[in-house]
Amino acid sequence: MASFAARSFVAVLRKDLLLEVRGGQSTVALGALSLLVLVVLVFAFNPAGGERGAAAAAGALWVALVFSGMLGATRAVSGESENGCIRALLMSPLDRAALYAAKLAAAFIFMAVAEAASIILMVLFFNLEFDLRVMRLAPAVMLGALGFAALATLLAGISSRLRGGDLVLPLLAVPMFVPALIAGVKASAAALAGAPLGEFAVWLKVLVAFDVLFVAAGYLLFEYVAGEE
C-alpha cells in the first residue's frame, strides 16, 4: 500500500506542475523577484568585483533565495485556498504527509528554477566568471532551497489560514532559517573564493542536517497544521 501514498504524491505534484506549465506564473514571479533583489543589492553595496565582490555576491544570492522562497511556498500552499481546492484535498482520502511532500516538492522545483536563474544573474551583475567555482555553488544553493521550502511549506500552512497571516510567515521563517542562511552564505563565499573543499564541506554538512531536520519535522507536523475546519 506504499503505492497509494506515492500515487497521491505524484498526483498532487503533477497537478501543481501542470498548472504552472499551463500559464501559472510562480516560476516567473520568483525569478523576477530574485532579479529585483539582486539589482537592489547591487545598488546597495556597489560591488567592485574581486574578493569582496565575491563575498557580496554570495550574500546577495541568499537574500534572493529567502525572498523567492517565501513567495514560492506561499503560492504553493495558499494558491489552493483561493478556490477552495484545499478543502477538497483535505476531504479526499489523501494522506496529509503525502500532501506535504507534494507541496514541498512543488515549492522546491519553483525555487530551484528561480535559483538557477539567479546564479546566472549573480555572475553577470557581480562581474564574476562562469567557471568551476560557480558550479560548486549549486549543491549549497539547492540544499538551501530544499531547507527553506521544507520550512516555509509547513509555515505557509499556518499563515494561509490566519487573517493577516502573510506577516507571520517571514516573522517565523527567517529566524528559523538562520542556521541554513549562515551555512549557505559561508559555503557560497568559500566556493566563489576557491577555498579548499574541506571548508566548503563543513557548511554543506550543516545544510544537510538542517534539511533532514526540517523535512522530517514538516512531514510529521503538517497533519496538525492542515487540520479540520
Binding site: 520550512l151 509547513l154 509555515l155 499556518i158 489560514r161 490566519l162 487573517r163 493577516g164 497571516g165 506577516l167 507571520v168 516573522l171 517565523l172 527567517v174 529566524p175 528559523m176 538562520v178 542556521p179 541554513a180 549562515i182 551555512a183 559561508k186 571548508e199 563543513v202 557548511w203 550543516v206 542536517a209 538542517f210 531536520l213 526540517f214 519535522a217 507536523l221 496538525y224 497544521v225 487540520g227 475546519e229
Partner: protein, 236 residues
C-alpha cells in the same frame, strides 16, 4: 492547598530569596578584581539566561503533549511559558549589553552566545506574534504547539552553526567571557542564591500567568455554552 495558596507562598518565598540575593549582590559579594563593579550584573544575567532556556524547553514539551493528548491545559502551560521566557530572554539581552559596553567597549558584538540568544528572542517573538494573531482558538493552540516544537528543534542547529560561524572567523573581542573565574566562594554562594531567587520568580510568574490563562479558557467555555443555551431557548 489551593492554587491560590500555592501562588501566595511562592510569592513570599520569591520575595525573601530576591531580597537575600540583592543583599548578597550589592553588599556581601566582593568586587571582581579585573572587571570592577559592573561584573555584579552577572548575578542577574546568568540566572535569567538559564530560566529563559528552561521556559523555551517547556514550550516545546507542552506543545508535544498538546498535540498528543489534545488537552487545553498543555497549551495554556506552553503559552504561559513562552510569554514568561520572553521576559527573561529580553532581560538577558539587556543586562548583557549593559555589561558589554564597559568590558568589551561595545553594546553588541556578534559573539556566538549573543547571536544565539538574539535568534532565540526572535524565534519566540515570532511565536508570540502568531499567538496574538490566531486569537484564542483551538487552531491557534495547534499552530502554537507546532511552532514551539519546530523552534526547539531549530535551537541546537542554531547553536552549532553560530559557533562554527564564529570560530572560523573569530572576532577580536570575544575571547574572554565574563564570570568564568569565580575564585571566591562568596561569589559562588551569591550566584547560587541568585539562581534560586530567579528560579522561584520564574515559577511564580509562570503560575500566575498559567492561572490567568486557565481562567480565560474556562470563561470561554462558559460563554460558549451560554450562547448555545440561549440559542436553544430561542428555538423552542
Amino acid at each position: 492547598m489551593s492554587g491560590r495558596g500555592i501562588r501566595l507562598w511562592l510569592g513570599l518565598v520569591t520575595l525573601a530569596l530576591m531580597l537575600a540575593a540583592l543583599y548578597m549582590i550589592f553588599v556581601y559579594v566582593p568586587t571582581e578584581a579585573e572587571q570592577g563593579i559592573v561584573q555584579r550584573i552577572f548575578y542577574f544575567h546568568v540566572p535569567c539566561a538559564l530560566v529563559a532556556f528552561v521556559a523555551f524547553a517547556l514550550v516545546a514539551i507542552a506543545g508535544v503533549f498538546y498535540l498528543w493528548l489534545g488537552q487545553q491545559v498543555w497549551d495554556d502551560l506552553g503559552y504561559a511559558a513562552a510569554e514568561t521566557g520572553m521576559v527573561f530572554c529580553t532581560l538577558v539581552l539587556v543586562t548583557g549589553s549593559i555589561w558589554a559596553k564597559p568590558i568589551w567597549g561595545a553594546w553588541w558584538t556578534w559573539d556566538s552566545r549573543l547571536t544565539t540568544t538574539l535568534i532565540l528572542w526572535l524565534l519566540y517573538g515570532g511565536y508570540l506574534m502568531l499567538r496574538a494573531m490566531a486569537g484564542d482558538s483551538e487552531q491557534g493552540a495547534r499552530f502554537g504547539a507546532v511552532v514551539g516544537i519546530v523552534a526547539a528543534l531549530d535551537v541546537p542547529i542554531v547553536i552549532v552553526s553560530v559557533r562554527l560561524w564564529r570560530t572560523i572567523h573569530p572576532a577580536v573581542l570575544v575571547t574572554r567571557q565574563g564570570g568564568h573565574g569565580l575564585e571566591d566562594p562568596r561569589m559562588v554562594a551569591t550566584l547560587l542564591v541568585s539562581l534560586a531567587a530567579f528560579t522561584t520568580l520564574f515559577i511564580w510568574i509562570l503560575c500566575l500567568r498559567f492561572a490567568t490563562l486557565r481562567m480565560h479558557t474556562r470563561l470561554g467555555a462558559l460563554a460558549r455554552s451560554l450562547a448555545l443555551a440561549e440559542a436553544a431557548a430561542q428555538d423552542s
